[in-house]
Symmetry: C2
Subunit: 491 residues, 2 copies
Amino acid sequence: MNVLTSTPVVAKRVFVLAMTVGLLISSPSTSQPQRAQETAPVTTYPAQLSADLRKLQEAALSSDYAYRQLAHLTDSIGPRLSGSPQAAAAVEYIAKEMRRLGLEVKLEKLSVPHWVRGEETAALVRYPGQAEGTTQKIILTALGGSVPTAPDGLNAEVVVVNNFDELKALGRDKVAGKIVLFNARFDRQMAAEGFGGEAYGQAVAYRSGGASAAARLGAVAALNRSAGGAEFRLPHTGALRYPDDAPKIPAAAVTAEDGDLIARLAALGTVRMQLLLTPKQLPDAESYNVIADFKGSEHPEQIIIVSGHLDSWDLGTGAIDDGAGVVIAMQTVQLLKQLHLRPKRTIRFIAWMNEENGVVGGRTYAKDHAGEIANHFAAIESDRGAGHPLGFEVKGRPEVLPLLQPMSAILQTSGAGLLQITTGTETDISPLGTAGVPSFGLWQDTRTYFDYHHTAADTLDKVVPRELAENAAAMAVLAYTLANLPQPLPR
Amino acid sequence: MNVLTSTPVVAKRVFVLAMTVGLLISSPSTSQPQRAQETAPVTTYPAQLSADLRKLQEAALSSDYAYRQLAHLTDSIGPRLSGSPQAAAAVEYIAKEMRRLGLEVKLEKLSVPHWVRGEETAALVRYPGQAEGTTQKIILTALGGSVPTAPDGLNAEVVVVNNFDELKALGRDKVAGKIVLFNARFDRQMAAEGFGGEAYGQAVAYRSGGASAAARLGAVAALNRSAGGAEFRLPHTGALRYPDDAPKIPAAAVTAEDGDLIARLAALGTVRMQLLLTPKQLPDAESYNVIADFKGSEHPEQIIIVSGHLDSWDLGTGAIDDGAGVVIAMQTVQLLKQLHLRPKRTIRFIAWMNEENGVVGGRTYAKDHAGEIANHFAAIESDRGAGHPLGFEVKGRPEVLPLLQPMSAILQTSGAGLLQITTGTETDISPLGTAGVPSFGLWQDTRTYFDYHHTAADTLDKVVPRELAENAAAMAVLAYTLANLPQPLPR
């Protein structure tokens, strides 16, 4: 996930998550989610539907399909940043696999940003206590979309601030011509307690908005302390925003350790840095949302979307963000085929393109399909990793919850029975949610997610096969429920 | 620490450590170490000595001297690999600081290896499922002392083995012309339970001996899965051995994730790698052990060494390995000055050079001072990080323990009261121990040590100031006890 578009929502959601994780852990025998219970009366499903949902759940939990697909996406295809050959290969692969499963596949064309990482090196070249002939290496990574430095880099003093107020207090006199380091700490304790989204939301403000805030005061480059949980000298990339009212200056994330180092030295005296970043913003590239329909038997015009985003950052192989979401959604349609189940409404698989640095896929889809919004019965996306699922968060009317209570009761047998109304939803389906489509975010335990998110360490080994299968079960059961629900969803 | 010279010893020590950590945790009221109790009768110390030891302990625990010294060594001076300008600056700085404290300083000249890291890049260029025009980046770091590849790198198939038996089973036919990856896992569970040294000992065999074992079968390069605990795409460097009977081939450590990736792909089919390593072995450099004597009042000819090693690997700033050991030893003499305590025997501070890749400092000292071994009353070194100290491990006669029991009782009030006979000791003082000098290794909790050891993440933030002070207290109290012990130590 990126958080340029959804910070407050993620923060709020994960706050609730932490409370409910605690609830589940302390009362493992609780079989019904609190919120669904509150909104009685309870619906009952046709016996065949309930039986089919249990079969789907069981088949998902004993399948390694999602994991095998994820291994291919990450190990063989690799990082999938928009515009890259790997992203193109992933589009082609997913389309082929969906066709192999017997689905109708459409590639809906997009024009996506094509930013390519270059060299990225930095060293402190002047600092208190420095020994003759030495420098201190700084480990950093360019933020996605950053403009480059001059080809031979730039050399400037570094000023350290912990927040926007401190930047403002410094003022133009002390910022102009300098490199600004936003050294805001990611709150690891908060994340360990289950509030990862909230901790991320706090830290990411400096990644997304720091460069422009610094540039408005004349800074020549901006650095942010990595917005992430682990401290293993691991920089976390991510997108930044360049609003029109500020000069575009180069921006990079330093590791937590390097943020500390610079701050300690700057507290003792003047610190100068030599910084080289040579990313390139190439012309926009042609790419695609991969769309595959499993046609409904009774209401083929009514659509339930199952989805994840196919693009990833370039440093790791995009296993948890968001290869996992894509393969979880793939497994929904694979299981229907395997079990010979035909939904009454159409289940539409979508692998979104360009969630990370533009959301072109999600926005274009909503625009291109604006005339069919009424036929979009619901949209589901998974974009919070592959940790144990707790249930779903719902952007929609509270009256939706009791209709789904029997489904939640089934998912609760694998620990995924929570349903919770929220005000936002996953990035790619957010435009649909805003247009009134009931939208469901798969709700994972994210306690370690922000340790790896947007780093070189977002790799297949971070995914526990059993947890991935639990997620696949949750999405398949919800999607099939929605596709076969006797009544429409209130909206 | 490096483990080319002391693997089995470290493994055994940490096994004992784990047991005793468990003992302490489960019985926090136990005030005497088990082994010391077993070897009654108990010595008593003169009242003045006991009072002075308590003052030393208290002063150390309330001092930030060691931490401030460590901040300078790591933040301002930086990585201190033998032969580097930073190592030279560190020698100069420590000598100056010891003179400032009023000690007699001698720089004892050494000729040390001067190996310099170069470019290090790798990518898989052929593998199952590969998409056209793509490669998979591999993160690795050259092992210290590695020879380079050709200037434009090498391109070869990778074969994966988990141990030396599997390599042998492949034989020359399947190894010649290939890159061998030793993918032996570091046992993280074992480390988390306190057996880090044992886990490291198992894994490091492939780092130190893998290249030559592979080269004997015609391999063109060797890779080892990083010998360390954390999985954040973080490679762990360290020294390798090139025995005379094998060709020297380039060698590097891949991260745990990259080891996994290569192994998974190789299980599916042929994997080829493009590997570039351009380190240089420069002519040996002149360097020094820094030696500073605090002369004894009654037996100035009798010497107690307090020490750590000043050199470090080049990826991080050498905070836990072993800047911590140096500043812990510095604080012993600083505290004696601060408290106006004069030892009866001479306390000799030594900052050893070149522990990591040659042990030239420790070996040269033992050789140059061979005629004075009888006057070396005891030697102490700290080289297992800066975690909470549990006590000391002793290479010496069991009769030593009861003589130190009153000292242990004092240290036990800060949790560092264990004394344990072992068969080996820290690397730099090992030649003295072999020559019969009673030798003491400061015995830290190493449960996270191997996560950071020999990586870019060995930085100041990994050191907890309170724990560093506990270590300084332990070394000062032991050193002053030995310097004032009424009787000689059995040897």
